[in-house]
Every structure is written in structure tokens, then in C-alpha cells.
Amino acid sequence: MLKKKLKFGFPLGAWQEDSLQLFKAAGYDIHFDEKFQKIEIDDPEIKCILTRPVAMASFVEKGFLDAGISTEASVFEAGAKVKVICNLEFLKPVPSKTKIVVAVPKNSKIRSIKDLSQKKIITRVPNIAKKFLEKSKISAEIIYSDALLNEPLAGVVCDALIEFARTEDYLKAYNLKVLETLLESSVILIANEDSLKNRWEREKIEGLGYLLKGARLAQEYSGLMLHASNEMMEEVLKTLPSLKKPTVTQLRGENWFDVLTVANKKEIRKIIPQLKKIGCTDIVEFPLNKVVI
């Protein structure tokens, strides 16, 4: 019998390292062999194939791959019909989101997108750029680049660029200003529609989704444990967030309770001082591996 194996696309490039870390957090022993450009994973049912997210979206659509980690922008760029299993956002809690923007050099005479008419625009995502220009009723020349874009290109080779912006600093460092944001793009787990019709493959892909999303959420959540007396309980329960119902256990032979819950780390920053004011004792916050709601 042929051994069942999921063909899984692993994102080459910007999201590669963070994806590896997320798999590790989800409990996989996975590593990237730099010399041979190969991903090794300790699950004999998964075969990882390293590929660029845009190409991956097409491969998943066509069924060459069963599933993979890609991005919303890549799926859009490839025009691929795939099923989104879960949104992993940015693979870790980051303050700013990845956007695709139109940018021009700071000293450029181009002030608004209307000024882009008849200009040259360089981009790594020509289909997204084309759709954007069509929608804005602007005709301009689109030049494709397969590498990272920067300021020396804009101004020399072309007048503007349509490029990913993971941070504002990056644009600032290259003396670029943003004219408009085209879209925001999350990292997503995608799957082939036919693969999902096969029970084994569907369960394997969904399972991976639970684990990866669970590991992703655990980066933002913590466990919280505390002791509260009977009189405090009502106020304590009001203070605690409602993501997960707290588990309350009476302490042996006392009028006190042990309360256990899970909450967003940012909320916990606010909750702990409040709980202390109520009179709770023995407040312990502990890290989590996975949160599957």
C-alpha cells in the first residue's frame, strides 16, 4: 500500500524563518538544511516543499501541493482558487501589518496616484498592480522585478514602485513616501479544494490548522492562576475575560478558591493590578504552548 503523505508547501523567503518557528512551537521537530535547501520534519506523513508563496498558491490550486503556508497577497497575485483553512496573521505578534503600497521617492513630483498616469512602475506583484491601476482608471507601464525593490530603482529605472512594506522604517530608510495602501496581507494556511474532499487529507490539513493556529494564539495568551475568597469571587469573575470560562476549585477546608483561566497577555497586564486590589493572593501567570478555542 502506498504510504499516505501530505504534500505541503513551505514558504521560501520572508516568511520562512517565522514559519519554522511556528512549526517548532506547534511541537514539530523541524529544521532547514541550508546546504541542501531542504526542510526536514519529524512527521512521516508530511513532505515539505520549499517554494515562493506566489508560485505556491498556483501549485495548491492545481493540486501539485495539497496545502501550504502562503499569504493573502500571494493568492491574490496568483489569482488562485484555494481554500483558506486558517489565518495565521503575521506568524507572531507584531505591531505593524504587512501591506502592499504605492511609493515614490520623497522628492518626486508625483503627489497623488493620479500623477502616475503614463509613468513607469516597478513591482514584484504585477497582477495586483494591474488591477489597482485598472480600478483607479490610470494607464501606466508596469515593469516586473523578481527581487527586492528599493529607492535606487525608483527614480532611476522607474518613477514609482508597488511593493511590500513590512515596516515603516524600511520605507523611511530608502527615502520613500507612501501614496496609497493597496491591501493588507496576512499569512494563511491554504489547501487544495479536491484534497479536502479526501477524508484523510482533510483531517490531516485541519489538524495542522488547529496546531499551527493554536501555537500562534499561545504567543498572545498566558495562563493565570490565583486565590480568591468567597466574598471576592463575584468581582473576580467580572474582571476576568471570557475567552475561556475560569475553572474554580475550593481550597480544602477554607473559604477560599483557586481560580484558573487563560487570557490575552495585554489584558493580563491590566487585570493583575485589579485582582491585587480586590484582594486576590498567589497570582501566578504561566506560559502556554497552544490555545485551541
Binding site: 519529524d42 489538524g207 493554536g214 504561566f286 502556554l288
Partner: protein, 308 residues
């Protein structure tokens, strides 16, 4: 008064990161200065030395170190006379100078299991160990290979290799014995594996005289307990979930039996809070299954130590 201080050898190189990690989980903080090899540990009764794992068994045998961490490979290679902790006091082992206190095998790192393999060029006529008669083998672990040949009754020349061992066949040697993790590097050098000589594990080893000293023995045993607990803890996680009353029995049946689950009823509702311990690797199958069976709010958190 003799100073109550344990001299501990920490292996530099591939075992270093893992060793520091389990010490940390065991509750010890080790401070690594940017330069130099003098580690500081937050236990005034321990003094740390960063040394190559090849040399740690030798220094333990000589009594320069009381305790250390090394691999089976380098313990065998050093030819240190070793005995396990249980038989340490029986007479036949009177000449053994090194006590194997416990195994610190790291079960999670499956891919990176250290294997010593015998390899020859793809096109070589050497098919098995028997064909090595009269040939030259290049290796960093000369004694390991000599013992292996002796066991197989084969006579061959074993040459010490200072490194880049994969490059040596066929010009500089007929075969090599080297460490491999994935086999990728061997393949890239057109080599094929003909035998595995040793699969190496990590060991905590002690000097015999340290073991005979009451204070040191206690200290070593306590440390071993914590380190083993940390190693076990690496593999295990806690899972907490909410289960509706109607599904409780069905779900309880599929839970792993590592430890009896703690079940609490949620006040005023027909829901239960169930907490279990399970192997981290099992969560891959278990979490999706629990989710499909109707468990909610599944939360997993790490375990630092497990002391049975």
C-alpha cells in the same frame, strides 16, 4: 576542611545548547560570558568548566572533574573504564573509574539522533565490513572503529582524521567512519552507508572517588534527579479542556493514560474541566481529535520537570 564543591564538565559544541537548556529547566541558571570558557552557575556548590565532549570522560577518569556530560561515542572512544550506577559497588568493577549516573537522552530530537556510520564511495566494491580487510579507514573516533573491527574480526588500518573526513575517500582512505544526522552530507560527497557502528546517547558520568564521597554522591544524585526530570519534562505537556457532560465518557476513553486526569465540574453548568498530562508528540493527533469530538477551549502548557 575539604571544600564542598562539585567540579562539573559541560560539553562544548553540539551538545552545549541542549545541556544548558536542561540545566535551565532543572532550575539552574548558567551565565555564559561572551569571551572565555568560565561559566558561572547560580549554585555556589558547583564549579563549571566548558570542555570538548571528547575530553570530558578522560578528565573524569583522572578525577580532574567530579561530574560531566558527554556522549556514549566519546566515552567509548576515551577508553575510560565505566560502570553503571547500580553495579558500581560490586567487586568485578573495582577497576572502573567512571560511573554512568544516568542517561539524559533527548527524545524530542528525532531527526538529529547522532549516528556513527561506516561509509564508502558509491562506486566502491566494499559492500560490508568484511570487505574492509587490509583497507584504510579515516575517522575522528579511532578507538571506536578499532573496537568495531575487532568485534567483526577484520584487520584494517584506522587513521585519525582531523576533520573534513567526507572528502577523504577514495584518494586518502578507502572508507570513513563519521557522525551523520540526516545523511545528506554523505550523499553530497558521493558516499553510501554500509553500516551503523553506534547510535550515541547523552550521559551524565561521575568520577568513582566523587561517588564514594558522601556529600558529593548526594549532590550528584540530587542533580541527576532534577536533570532527568527536566529531560522527561521536555517531552511532556499539560492539556486542559472543557468538555460537555454528555461527551465526557466518550472523550475520557481516548485520553492517554500517562497520568490520571483531573476532572472538575464547572459550577452551575453541565460542563467539565479536564486536565491531563501527555507526550507533546501525541498532541498532534489528540488535539484535532478532541476538537472533532466536541472539547472546547483546549489549552496546552509546558512542563518543566517530571519526577516520578
Amino acid at each position: 576542611m575539604t571544600e564542598n564543591k562539585l567540579k562539573l564538565g559541560i560539553p562544548k559544541g553540539s551538545l552545549q545548547e541542549y545541556t544548558l537548556k536542561i540545566f535551565k529547566s532543572a532550575g539552574f541558571d548558567i551565565d555564559i560570558p561572551e569571551r572565555g570558557y568560565f561559566f558561572k552557575i547560580d549554585d555556589p556548590e558547583i564549579e563549571c568548566f566548558l570542555l570538548r565532549p571528547q575530553e570530558i570522560p578522560k578528565y573524569i577518569e583522572k578525577g580532574k572533574l567530579d561530574l560531566g556530560i558527554s556522549g556514549d561515542d566519546w566515552i567509548l572512544e576515551s577508553k575510560a573504564k565505566i560502570v553503571d550506577e547500580a553495579s558500581a559497588s560490586s567487586p568485578p568493577f573495582a577497576n572502573a573509574r567512571v560511573i554512568e549516573v544516568c542517561d539524559l537522552k533527548y527524545a524530542k530530537k528525532e531527526i538529529k539522533k547522532v549516528k556513527w556510520v561506516l561509509a564508502v564511495p558509491q562506486s566502491s566494491k566494499i559492500k560490508s565490513v568484511k570487505d574492509l580487510e587490509g583497507k584504510t579507514i579515516s575517522t575522528e573516533a579511532v578507538n571506536l572503529v578499532k573496537d568495531y573491527l575487532k568485534k567483526n574480526k577484520v584487520k584494517a588500518r584506522v587513521e585519525f582524521s582531523w576533520g573534513t573526513t567526507e572528502v577523504k575517500p577514495p584518494r586518502f582512505a578507502d572508507a570513513i567512519c563519521d557522525i551523520t544526522e540526516t545523511g545528506a552530507s554523505l550523499k553530497a560527497h558521493n558516499l553510501k552507508v554500509i553500516d551503523t557502528i553506534l547510535t550515541s546517547s547523552t550521559k551524565l558520568i561521575a568520577n568513582k572517588f566523587a561517588w564514594q564521597d558522601k556529600w558529593k554522591k548526594e549532590k550528584i544524585k540530587d542533580l541527576a534527579l532534577l536533570l532527568q526530570g527536566a529531560v522527561k519534562g521536555e517531552e511532556v505537556v499539560n492539556l486542559m479542556m472543557h468538555i460537555p457532560g454528555g461527551k465526557l465518557n466518550r472523550i475520557l476513553k481516548i485520553l492517554p493514560k500517562l497520568k490520571t486526569p483531573t476532572i472538575k465540574k464547572i459550577a452551575g453548568e453541565n460542563w467539565y474541566d479536564v486536565t491531563i498530562g501527555c507526550k507533546e508528540k501525541d498532541t498532534r493527533e489528540l488535539i484535532p481529535k478532541l476538537k472533532r469530538m466536541g472539547a472546547q477551549g483546549i489549552v496546552e502548557w509546558p512542563v518543566m520537570k517530571i519526577v516520578p
